[in-house]
């Protein structure tokens, strides 16, 4: 595990907007964090001064602009903290701690080496599967994967067209985008794992699937990919207090006979699916 540089900065909110899918997006001025952050890293935010809410809230980086010194986060309003964030106005300053977690970079995992010069005719593929706000952390990975020569496709699903976030930036980066909605209002009618199933057949052992979304979706993917021996990485969420490894609160059970736990904030948030238990209690 590398030792990330973690900064606790008072960042200015540069912009906040409500986007498609009912999510909010904010750009924050945080050069120290933008300079070193990797895909799938996150920040822990003190949403407002005072004790209500009391703990910080973790959010993935949905865009990283090291040159401009800006990071972006994208969130759905699900409770008190995210509700307050929706009322942020430009100029406000918020305390953010980051970048946190190991993130996920193809280089770190030693995955790019063999693929840049593909053996056969087919370029190695990176398949992203996202449900709901699970799309947020995907974009920085697309950026870096394209640089490493991967073909990238995204499978993204939600309840309905309105619940889906905008995917333009993915398309503009040369990523093939496949959409599913449960009500059929856009793309494939059904859940995203159903849509992904057709593609799964054509994947080979050198390809990689990275998924982020609700636990049941991740569970299903784990069994699908497991059956076909496809390498699956899952990004996990757990209730967090510190986000940096101090409290041991964000435990996730390791799979197999090992009775232990790993921690989302220091060992994750991305895990090789085989190494963790995703089963609902």
């Amino acid at each position: 595990m590398s030792t990330p540089e973690i900064h606790d900065v008072l960042a200015e909110v540069m912009s906040v907007k409500r986007c498609r899918g009912g999510v909010y997006r904010a750009e924050l001025v945080a050069p120290e964090i933008a300079a070193v952050a990797k895909p799938f890293q996150f920040v822990n935010i003190k949403v407002s001064p005072g004790n209500d809410p009391f703990l910080r809230r973790p959010f993935s980086l949905s865009r990283i602009e090291p040159d401009e010194g800006i990071i972006e986060i994208t969130w759905a309003v699900v409770g008190k903290g995210t509700g307050i964030m929706a009322t942020w106005e430009p100029g406000r300053e918020v305390k953010i701690l980051g970048p946190l977690g190991n993130g996920f970079s193809l280089e770190d995992k030693g995955l790019t080496g063999g693929f840049i010069a593909p053996l056969g005719g087919k370029a190695p593929e990176l398949i992203l599967v996202a449900g709901g706000t699970g799309l947020a952390p995907m974009y920085p990975l697309v950026m870096s994967a394209r640089k490493s020569g991967f073909t990238v496709s995204l499978f993204y699903g939600g309840r309905s067209l309105e619940s889906l976030m905008d995917t333009d930036r993915f398309e503009q980066s040369g990523c093939e985008v496949h959409i599913s909605t449960e009500d059929g209002s856009a793309g494939f009618r059904g859940v995203v794992t159903g849509l992904f199933e057709s593609r799964l057949r054509n994947l080979s052992a050198s390809d990689i699937v990275v998924a982020c979304g609700p636990r049941p979706m991740l569970q299903r993917l784990k069994s699908m990919c497991g059956q076909r021996n496809i390498r699956l990485y899952v990004s996990l969420e757990e209730r967090m207090a510190c986000g940096v490894g101090l409290c041991k609160g964000c435990a996730v059970k390791t799979s197999g006979n090992d009775p232990g736990y790993r921690h989302v904030c220091t060992d994750g948030p991305v895990f090789l699916a085989d190494t963790v238990e995703l089963g609902g209690e």
Partner: protein, 302 residues
Amino acid sequence: MDLSVNLAGLTLKNPVIAASGVFGYGEEYVKVGDIRWFGAVSVKGTTLNPRAGNPPPRTCETPAGMLNSIGLENPGAKVVIEEKLPWLAQFGVPVIVNISGESYEEFRTLGSMFSESPLVSALEVNVSCPNVRAGGMAFGVDPRSCYRATYAVRRAWHGPLIVKLTPNVQDISSVARAAVEGGADAISLINTLVGLAIDIKKRKPVLGSVTGGLSGPAIKPVALRCVYEVSQAVPVPVIGMGGILDYRDALEFIMAGATAVAVGTAVLVNPSVPRSIVEGLIKYGQEEGVERISDLVGVAWR
């Protein structure tokens, strides 16, 4: 203002201690803060054998506080002695080892194991953890068993001995007196209050292990009451904790009778909190003309 305090023969350069359980063994903390702002650090509750901890979810926010049910996840005394303490020693900050046993026998064994290490400044006997089934809080709710647990460590350990008490009792002073009779050189309080939260969507308790320990500002009034009472009931120094966020909170505890204070949950929200408390205390001392922080200990009842 002279911030140094004397705690059971141990001199701390300032009275701000890292509470056990929010500092691990320091390895994660160094990435977000400078250990040297602490007057001393109390490491994660350490058991004889390694413990994996409790099933998730392990934390949950509550009004002005949080519940945790970590369950003493730790690598066990041997690894702590051989790997963690030697690394932590480099910072030159006194290390308090927080220990938790499942039996008097285990407490004694822990006492003698840590006696072998020159890197331990003090032992803190945790008879107050609400998150483990065997041992844990059981020893701290009854004066007799608190006496015995303390005495078990005392026989094996000859350095400064701190006993950490739980507020989940009806008369904390009598438990504190029992700890002193058992050989405690200082009392630290409070550990968390037993609490619970319900997830109304799932219609189940939020925490994987149902109940957890409540910490943070919410419990500050309870902690202050315990410090106010116990510091008058025992002849040894008290380390006060429970919801301290800033130097004003620290002053409340000191005036209520605490010789030193510890910060727990605040570290999780704001890792550089020891620095801001120390700087706040220095400024306060200048403005109010207080020469020694120790002059304020217990002024509220003296």
